[in-house]
Amino acid sequence: MSSNNHELNKFPWKHVIGLALSLILTLIALWVVVSLSLPTVATLTIIVLLAVCQAFIQLLMFMHINENHGRGYRILAIAFGFYIAVVVVYGSLWIMWFTV
């Protein structure tokens, strides 16, 4: 409990940096779409890469991914999250391919 309180009393730099980085990456994505007139494939590639970067930043800064306790749960949770992401993204592409 005491170590917990100590943790709570520190200024949450990690979260502030995470928030700032997330905002910057989002603004870059917006700028790429609005201000640069790149070919569609290039635009999509860039914003997908930025999104993946942001996902990792959030996992590191907000989601305690590199903490030590509860490793088993975390691996399971990430595996399930990865499974859902693949199913949703790949499944949607597969279904929608017909119209693309």
């Binding site: 949703v88 499944g91 929608m96």
Partner: protein, 655 residues
């Protein structure tokens, strides 16, 4: 000037229909009545202190259930209006526009504002008690979840008197729901209200996941948890992964409608089919979000009233986990006919058939639990027993629908309507009714009247079959869903008449149930033991209604059915044995309610695109969150040991 005000009011309030004026009048009268009652009996402070600011999971659960029953009434009236329109051919009771609005609000309210809150209410009441905890992991967040749901439900409900209801179906498919084909505020209500209540739902998912992982009583390993706790855990995981998809889909369509983007329009490279795709990526797991918890309730009820440990505990758990994994792989079966390749349809056809297997495993487990049990036919048990055959009919017709080639015949016909009401009513509605009867004593300290309960059960269950079984046949005869009227001479008249009679029979069943609740509050048998059913799990170890702190001492768990084991060993009394210690509890707070009111204001502003209202509302939301984050250190208190002793003595627990 006066002309301007007149034309504004004419479009702001829904006008021109006598039924709507009747609704206006009854809303005004009910509001005046409530305000008068609260003022005359000086209840405002009581309302604020005891309910609006509470973070107690049991009170939040009760509020969820009251709201859900009100919404069941609203959605039920919608259903009866639809059936009244379809009682005879070429009926002119409702116009097509009015009918469209009613089937849309019926579906949306029943799923988002009846089924889910009812289930969340039962989870709130039972889960912390079942795992031997004093509250959920995040009591503040729990109150936020409830108030977001409640004010979102109110926002959605005022649409029928202010501005007009959504009218594109509960699925709100693009391009029909897009700005071009559906101008006006109706669809905005749908998008904004579901977005707000969706935030609450997501928070509930996180809250219960953490509660179950982190707050179980010592000794309760995962495989010693009660089955309802397991089902809530699995549901929470599905919520966490499915609801973000709905959030995104709703946000994209809101951007389309409010700011002129083209995610789901045909022009400018948008894709209307992507709406269907995203909606059902969320929508199919959603089916299991409202089903899996009630499978847990049935397991509890059947095992309690067969007076046996649940048969095949591990098979039950693994089949729920299998359902949660598979539920994300079947969504396309909702739009087989939208035009996909043969491989796509085949894959989703097979995945849908596969998900029926774990569900079937569970059915057999319940049957084997009943086998050689001492079955006690209480009302809760009747609902659970009726669930098995009725739900199985729905399940089997579901497998019929999963065959992609055959689905071209069934699609959007009354066959489909019959199927999903068969699973959602026999599953979810029977389940929450069973849970309501089962946990009622724990909520209020008295048992619901069995005689009236059985009357309600038989009337409702028989009427339900009269209503929905003929729909399979009328569907095969060619009647499609969402028709606001039908011509004579197609041979549909007799079955439509029967269906309408069945629907009104269900209404009668509901009224008996309401009467039963009122009657039992006055004359119901008081539960002085805390264990009216000879229960098997920990919620029955404490007194009824459960004290604020749930357990004077946190129970020690050794086996599955922990309380049954304690009673056998004679250690059940350890939970309330003196001496007592001070108990650490969360403080009540008004912030969740105020925050949600700001959400309502911002939401209403967005619906009408009144940014002078939406922007201050949003600022209010942010300020509420900032205020909360600086009040972190003053959010808990201790109940002194003497007070615990007094409470236990008052409950008759100390001799």
């Amino acid at each position: 000037m006066i002309e301007n005000i007149k034309s504004f009011l004419g479009s702001f309030f829904v006008t021109g229909d006598p039924m709507i004026y009747g609704a206006d009048a009854s809303i005004a009268l009910a509001t005046i009545g409530i305000v008068f009652y609260l003022t005359y009996f000086k209840k405002w402070k009581w309302l604020w202190d005891e309910w609006l600011t509470t973070v107690d999971h049991k009170k939040i659960g009760i509020m969820y259930i009251i709201a859900a029953i009100l919404m069941l009434f609203r959605g039920g009236v919608d259903a009866l209006l639809m059936r009244a329109q379809l009682i005879i051919p070429n009926n002119t009771f409702l116009t097509s526009q009015h009918y469209n609005e009613i089937f849309t609000t019926h579906g949306t309210i029943m799923i988002f504002f009846m089924a889910m809150p009812f289930i969340f209410g039962l989870m709130n009441i039972a889960i912390p008690l079942q795992i031997g905890a004093r509250d959920v992991a995040f009591p503040f967040l729990n109150a936020v979840s409830f108030w977001l749901f409640f004010l979102a439900a109110m926002l959605f409900n005022i649409s029928f008197v202010i501005g007009g209801s959504p009218d594109a179906g509960w699925t709100s498919y693009a391009p029909l729901a897009g700005l071009k084909l559906d101008p006006g505020v109706g669809e905005n209500y749908y998008l904004v209200a579901l977005q707000i209540s969706g935030i609450g739902t997501l928070a509930t998912g996180v809250n219960f996941l953490v509660t179950i992982f982190k707050m179980r009583a010592p000794g309760m390993t995962l495989f010693k948890m009660p089955m309802f706790t397991w089902s809530t855990l699995v549901t929470s995981i599905i919520i966490i992964f499915a609801f973000p998809v709905l959030t995104i889909a709703l946000a994209l369509m809101s951007i389309d409608r409010l700011f002129g983007a083209h995610f789901f329009t045909i022009e400018a490279g948008g894709s209307p089919m992507m709406w269907a795709n995203l909606f059902w990526i969320w929508g199919h797991p959603e089916v299991y979000i409202v089903l899996i918890p009630v499978l847990g309730i049935f397991s509890e009820v059947i095992s309690t009233f067969a007076h046996k440990t649940l048969f095949g505990y591990k098979a039950m758990v693994w089949s729920m986990i299998a359902i949660s994994v598979l539920s994300f792989t079947t969504w396309l079966h909702h739009f087989f006919t939208m035009g996909n390749t043969a491989w796509v349809n085949s894959f989703f056809s097979v995945s849908t058939m596969i998900i029926a297997i774990p569900t079937g495993v569970k059915i057999f487990n319940w049957l084997f639990t009943l086998n050689k049990g001492r079955i006690e036919f209480t009302t809760a048990m009747l609902w659970a027993l009726a669930f098995i055959p009725n739900f199985t009919i729905g399940g089997i017709t579901g497998v019929m629908l999963s065959l992609a080639p055959a689905d071209y015949q069934y699609h959007n016909s009354y066959f489909l309507i019959a199927h999903f009401h068969n699973v959602l009513i026999a599953g979810t509605v029977f389940g929450v009714f069973a849970g309501l009867h089962y946990w009622w004593p724990k909520m209020f300290g008295h048992v619901l009247n069995e005689r009236l309960g059985k009357w309600a059960f038989w009337v409702f269950m028989i009427s339900y079959n009269i209503c929905f079984l003929p729909m399979y046949f009328i569907g095969l005869m060619g009647m499609t869903r969402r028709m606001y009227t039908f011509p004579s001479g197609l041979g549909w008249e007799p079955l439509n008449l029967v269906i309408t009679l069945g629907a009104f029979g269900m209404g009668v069943g509901f009224l008996i149930m309401v009467w039963m609740i009122v009657y039992s509050a006055k004359y119901g048998k008081r539960d002085t033991t805390g264990d009216p059913w000879n229960g098997r799990t920990l919620e029955w170890a404490t007194s009824s209604p459960a004290p604020e702190y749930n357990f004077a001492h946190i129970p020690q768990v050794e086996t599955v059915d922990a309380f049954a084991h304690m009673k056998e060993k004679g250690t059940a009394g350890n939970i309330y044995k003196a001496p007592f210690q001070a108990i650490h509890m969360p403080n009540d707070t008004g912030i969740p309610f105020i925050l949600s009111v700001f959400f309502f204001i911002a939401g209403f502003g967005l619906v009408f695109e009144w940014y002078w209202m939406a922007i201050p509302g949003t600022i209010g939301i942010i300020v509420s969150m900032i205020v909360r984050s600086f009040k972190d250190h003053e959010d808990h208190h201790h109940i002194p040991a003497e007070e615990v002793e007094q409470t236990e003595r008052a409950a008759g627990r100390l001799s």
